[in-house]
Point group: C2
Chain length 144, copies 2
């Protein structure tokens, strides 16, 4: 991991479909050298994958919320993962240290849809309660 790798990664964050030639111009390498570095970054796990950034509003799921999840004592991480992964509205989730046990970022169509997701979670075994925070404007979005 040197400055050249970082330049390649920075450019791939901006555009994951950039050609090796373009990445070569940006990083000062020949395309074949860029390819080898990318292969190394993929093999070492620094690059986890390539994805498309969607406009959820245009897709009809423009309402975002962060659900703080409180679980019953003794609930395993495995059952948490299993429960949360099942909900396709949950696009991101973490266990946490702090005010709640887990956080789940959800994308829904509207508040009715949000309520439906919350009720589904609350019915799951091991879930004590949830606290909802609606996300309004996107201020910063750097992949994260």
């Amino acid at each position: 991991m040197d400055e050249t790798d970082r330049r390649i990664l920075h450019e791939l964050v901006r555009d994951a479909r950039a050609s090796l030639e373009h990445l070569g111009r940006v990083s000062g390498l020949a395309p074949s050298s860029v390819k080898r570095r990318i292969a190394r970054l993929e093999d070492s796990g620094v690059i986890r994958g390539y994805t498309v950034q969607l406009n959820h509003r245009a897709l009809g799921t423009g309402v975002k919320a962060l659900l703080a999840v409180y679980v019953a004592p003794g609930t395993s991480r495995e059952s948490l993962i299993a429960s949360l992964s099942k909900e396709e509205e949950i696009v991101r989730a973490w266990t946490t240290a702090g005010q709640s046990d887990a956080l789940a970022l959800v994308h829904v169509r509207d508040t009715d849809h949000l309520e439906e997701v919350i009720l589904r979670l609350q019915r799951m075994p091991g879930f004590a309660h949830t606290r909802t925070q609606i996300l309004l404007t996107d201020l910063v979005n750097r992949g994260g």
Copy 2:
């Protein structure tokens, strides 16, 4: 936006570098037809871009936290955006309706680095205080 578009998008979420030929096999179209649909999805704003998914632990910024930000009355969204965008540790931020005024997802090296970011935020004009929640395990990650 029909079922074919959704299949193409689903595949691009999984792998933004999938070839038109592969996307054609998945969606049942010829590569040139896939190309046209993708162009339409890009032009209409459904596809915002293509990015690489990084392993932040491998990059040395393996500590994640969610900062609940409370601002002083009268602080504009513009100054919030300006302040938060400046911090490269902030990878995602939203204004919110609920317990806090904004949420910021940060990626830092360690807890010292986290404290540094928090102190930097608290020194900014218009920031009242922050509440920190450390994110432990990634349970779900579907782009979001």
